[in-house]
């Protein structure tokens, strides 16, 4: 027993001596972001301008929303490959509703108001996510396979709905009372784009859920060790279903914001976004094994990925090189994660 005491006593000293390297490792996404902003500011006079930051944050808003959902899934020890497709499907579905829904039996065309479009689209996202969750939790389909399936199905449905074409007119008609969709993409409140505000609200809500609610605790516990969580009374499967549903909801919001920004809804929107999203979460320090990760880290990860790729565009680097850089950053981030978590025992 005295052995244990010795070992415990040896710890605080170690904690007190925070070295520079440890500090850099803990805050790597933050320092990375500062480095990116400083580098590009020096390379291009157009980078560090208010208008450019607004443009970039609009891009980050999309990835940030997806990344928050992905963070929840990854914390749970899963993965959601369907977010890009759900984003595309949501945009198309919203566009479809904006064009008016013809009810043949009644012989009328219904034009739902924008709030109804938003509610219905988000419900669709939740439904796709719930399907993923039920497959993973109750039918024991590996998350990778289940969400890979929905990646294809959602994309296919989006293509079927538009026949491969794009809905270009999303502005609605004052006569029909369904105007205002662009508001999501273009308007600003106190100078901040609505998309960024939506991201901020989503981040705060997610953060509160994770740190202050029983559900957040269940999520961390079942991601860290599902068997132990289950034996402690955590409804592990219900948590899984909710987590994938939330990821679907956030992807639907991202789809709405993106199609509002573009004022068009194409079935190819969000193609390969799931990979960028996973990259953002991992750069933000979350462990793909589950149980470890924070909202702050994930937001920083989304900003790092977004600011890096936009910066490369601004200084005129070829898009092929952008892909190489993004890949290198992801590998570096995962490597640093392994260093940080490697010493803390196997999970």
């Amino acid at each position: 027993m005295s052995d244990t005491t010795n070992r415990a006593a040896g710890r605080p000293g170690k904690k007190g001596g925070w070295s520079i390297i440890q500090l850099l490792l803990e805050g790597r996404a933050f320092f990375g972001l500062i480095a990116i902003v400083m580098t590009f500011s020096m390379l291009s006079p157009n980078y560090a301008t208010v208008s450019n930051f607004l443009i970039m944050s609009n891009h980050v808003a999309i990835f940030g929303l997806l990344a928050l959902g992905m963070l929840l899934v990854i914390l749970n020890g899963g993965i959601d490959l369907s977010v890009g497709s759900v984003l595309g499907l949501s945009g198309v579905f919203a566009g479809f509703l904006m064009q008016g829904v013809e009810i043949q039996s009644a012989g009328v065309i219904v034009y739902p108001p924008v709030w109804a479009v938003v509610v219905l689209t988000v419900a669709l996202g939740a439904f796709v996510g719930m399907c993923n969750g039920v497959l993973v939790a109750y039918f024991k389909v590996p998350a990778f396979v289940a969400t890979l399936g929905s990646l294809y199905v959602a994309r296919g449905v989006a293509l079927l709905m538009t026949d491969g074409l794009t809905f270009n007119n999303l502005s609605g008609d004052p006569a029909l009372g369904n105007t205002g969709f662009e508001w999501l993409g273009f308007n600003r409140i106190a100078g901040v784009p609505v998309g960024v505000l939506i991201l901020a609200v989503a981040a705060i809500v997610t953060g509160v859920i994770l740190s202050r609610t029983a559900f957040g605790r269940w999520l961390y516990a079942s991601g860290g060790n599902a068997r132990a969580a289950e034996l402690s009374g955590v409804p592990v499967r219900r948590v899984q279903v909710i987590v994938y549903s939330l990821s679907g909801v956030l992807a639907a919001f991202a789809g709405l914001v993106l199609s509002a920004q573009l004022t068009s809804a194409g079935p190819q929107a969000g193609f390969t976004y799931e990979l960028t999203t996973i990259a953002a979460v991992v750069v933000g320090g979350a462990s793909l094994m589950g149980g470890r990760g924070t909202v702050t880290g994930t937001l920083l990860g989304a900003f790092v990925i977004g600011f890096l790729s936009d910066g490369l565009v601004i200084i005129g680097v070829s898009s092929y090189w952008q892909t190489v850089f993004t890949g290198a950053v992801i590998v570096l981030a995962v490597m640093l994660n392994s260093i940080q978590y490697g010493g803390r025992g196997k999970t």
Binding site: M1, D3, T4, T5, N6, R7, A8, A9, R11, P12, V208, R212, T213, A214, R217, W218, Y220, A221, G223, G224, N225, R227, A228, A229, E230, L231, S232, G233, V234, P235, S287, G290, G291, R292, R344, G345, K346, T347
Partner: protein
């Protein structure tokens, strides 16, 4: 040298036989934990040396040192009279030392032939020489007198046959020393007979065998020497002719082994937990792991469940906790039928399980000590939508004090605790839900004697306050510590029931430990 192929003790006096492998004054420490303290151990050529000891006595550490998994902290190994350093399992194999683990290390999807030569394939001019491998595999099977086609997939073989394949693999590498860790624990009686015949054949061929088993009398029929370990120290060493079952138990358990006495002089309440005809199907074999079991436990009572591996203790407990479904029977908690309750509902109703494997089922390694402790009682510190930090900290601090976890604070990582303290965290987590019945599966597994005594003290205290405690153990000494009643399980049923005034020998006999399976 030939040894008579009978069950009798060897006629050759062991002292005159050659020592092929010897451990001299071997110690091994893992951090601050001393697993082995100055152990001396001889392996005699062509004979069976059995290592006896309870869980945590250091048997497996010693085996891992002999087979190259660990290097000793101090001391040396002497092979054929020369000091050797065995730094890896590959080196051990090259020196002719092979180990057969309790969990077989075969690839079930591959054939017997491919398994035997896995990692040391015979290469021909055009890749692997399957014809030669097949021929040698058939030859090995013939020597072992087992009629197994080398092209059979391992998963299609019975467990006993799979064990033979492991032995064949060891022999194919020209092993002179074969270490067998609990080889009979999963075998049927007839398979054990076959295995023992193989062991006698191996002895006759000059192969030395190190044998580990919890089936004491079974081991006595095959062994030539006995070595007993207790708490990392070799407590006794003798040739077969000089020992008996009682000698082993005495040396294994120790006379002064005291981990508490039953909480005496308190009134037992009404029936708290009742099992009626509980039947749980087995996962690894056809049939029932728990077979129509009846049990009732009163409030304030401490019941110990003793049994061998595979007796159905874990399945029974996991079914009671709601992890495994029962095919028949009912679970009653204070007279209320809770058979259809989920795990969470059972915890709410006051029934909790402390699982056997704390790493796999007990702890969330990514969370701090504090959050592990509060995990099962989240609803107690949730106000409306949100958790209340002050209430949570109060629960955590109470728990740390109550189960005396030695930690530098609730924010320490769970991995920074010793095994005993981790176990206390798992127990503390479940006790924080203020249960009326607590079921513990091997609560003393892999923790040191001091921590054991504390765990049992905590349980005894709660029993005094009216909690019903059911715990299982495979260490017979613990049955006689704090339990009012000892239930011996065997093949899913209750084989016997004892009160405190029984003996270790009687309990072991009832479990089947002292009989050839």
């Amino acid at each position: 040298m030939r040894v008579p192929e009978t069950d009798e003790a060897p006629q050759v006096a062991p002292d005159t036989t050659e020592v092929v492998l010897a451990a001299r004054n071997v110690s091994k420490s893992f951090g601050a934990v001393h697993a082995l303290k100055g152990v001396n151990f001889d392996v005699h050529r062509g004979q069976v040396t059995t290592l006896f000891g309870e869980n945590g006595a250091g048997k497996s550490t010693l085996m891992k040192i002999l087979s190259g998994v660990h290097l000793p902290t101090s001391g040396e190994l002497i092979l054929d009279g020369e000091a050797v350093e065995i730094a890896s399992t590959v080196e051990a194999r090259d020196l002719g030392i092979a180990i057969i683990h309790q969990e077989l290390s075969l690839a079930p999807n591959m054939t017997v032939r491919d398994n035997i030569f896995l990692g040391c394939e015979i290469m021909g001019s055009t890749g692997v020489n399957y014809a030669e491998e097949g021929r040698q595999a058939r030859e090995l099977m013939r020597e072992l007198e087992e009629d197994i086609d080398p092209l059979t997939r391992v998963e299609d073989l019975r467990l006993g046959q799979q064990q033979i394949v492991e032995i064949a693999r060891a022999l194919s590498a020209n092993s002179r020393i074969l270490i067998m860790d609990e080889p009979t624990s999963a075998l049927s009686a007839s398979e054990v007979e076959v295995l023992f015949k193989v062991i006698r054949d191996l002895k006759a061929r000059g192969v030395s065998i190190v044998y580990i088993s919890h089936h004491l009398e079974e081991a006595l029929t095959i062994t030539d020497h006995a070595v007993v370990l207790r708490d990392g120290v070799m407590t006794a060493y003798a040739p077969r002719s000089e020992i008996d079952l009682e000698w082993i138990v005495r040396n294994m358990v120790g006379e002064n082994f005291d981990i508490g006495s039953p909480p005496s002089r308190h009134e037992m309440g009404t029936t708290a937990l009742e099992l009626r005809g509980l039947t749980v199907p087995a996962t690894s074999f056809t049939g029932n792991a728990v077979d129509g079991l009846d049990l009732s436990v009163k409030s304030g009572e401490v019941v110990c469940i003793y049994g061998l591996m595979g007796a159905g203790r874990t399945e029974m407990m996991e079914c009671v906790a709601g992890r495994l479904p029962a095919t028949a029977g009912r679970v009653l908690l204070h007279g209320q039928d809770i058979s259809s309750f989920t795990i969470a509902q059972r915890i709410e109703a006051g029934l909790v399980l402390v699982p056997e494997d704390r790493q796999r089922d007990g702890l969330v390694q990514t969370m701090t000590v504090g959050r592990n402790l509060s995990l099962a009682s989240i609803s107690d510190f949730t106000r409306g939508l949100f958790t209340n930090r002050r209430d949570e900290n109060r629960i955590i601090e109470d728990s740390i004090r109550e189960v005396t976890v030695k930690t530098d604070g609730p924010d320490a990582t769970i991995g920074s605790l010793s095994g005993g303290n981790q176990q206390k965290v798992v127990i503390g987590k479940m006790l924080a839900t203020t249960p009326s019945v607590v079921v513990l599966d091997e609560p003393s597994r892999g923790i040191d004697v001091g921590a054991k005594a504390e765990v049992f003290r905590i349980l005894a205290e709660h029993a005094k306050n009216g909690m019903a405690v059911v715990f299982s153990t495979s260490e017979v000494g613990e049955c006689l510590s704090i339990a009012h009643r000892i239930i011996v399980m065997r093949r899913g049923r209750i084989a016997a029931e004892f009160t405190q005034d029984t003996t270790k020998e009687a309990i072991m006999a009832a479990s089947g430990e002292s009989l050839v399976a």
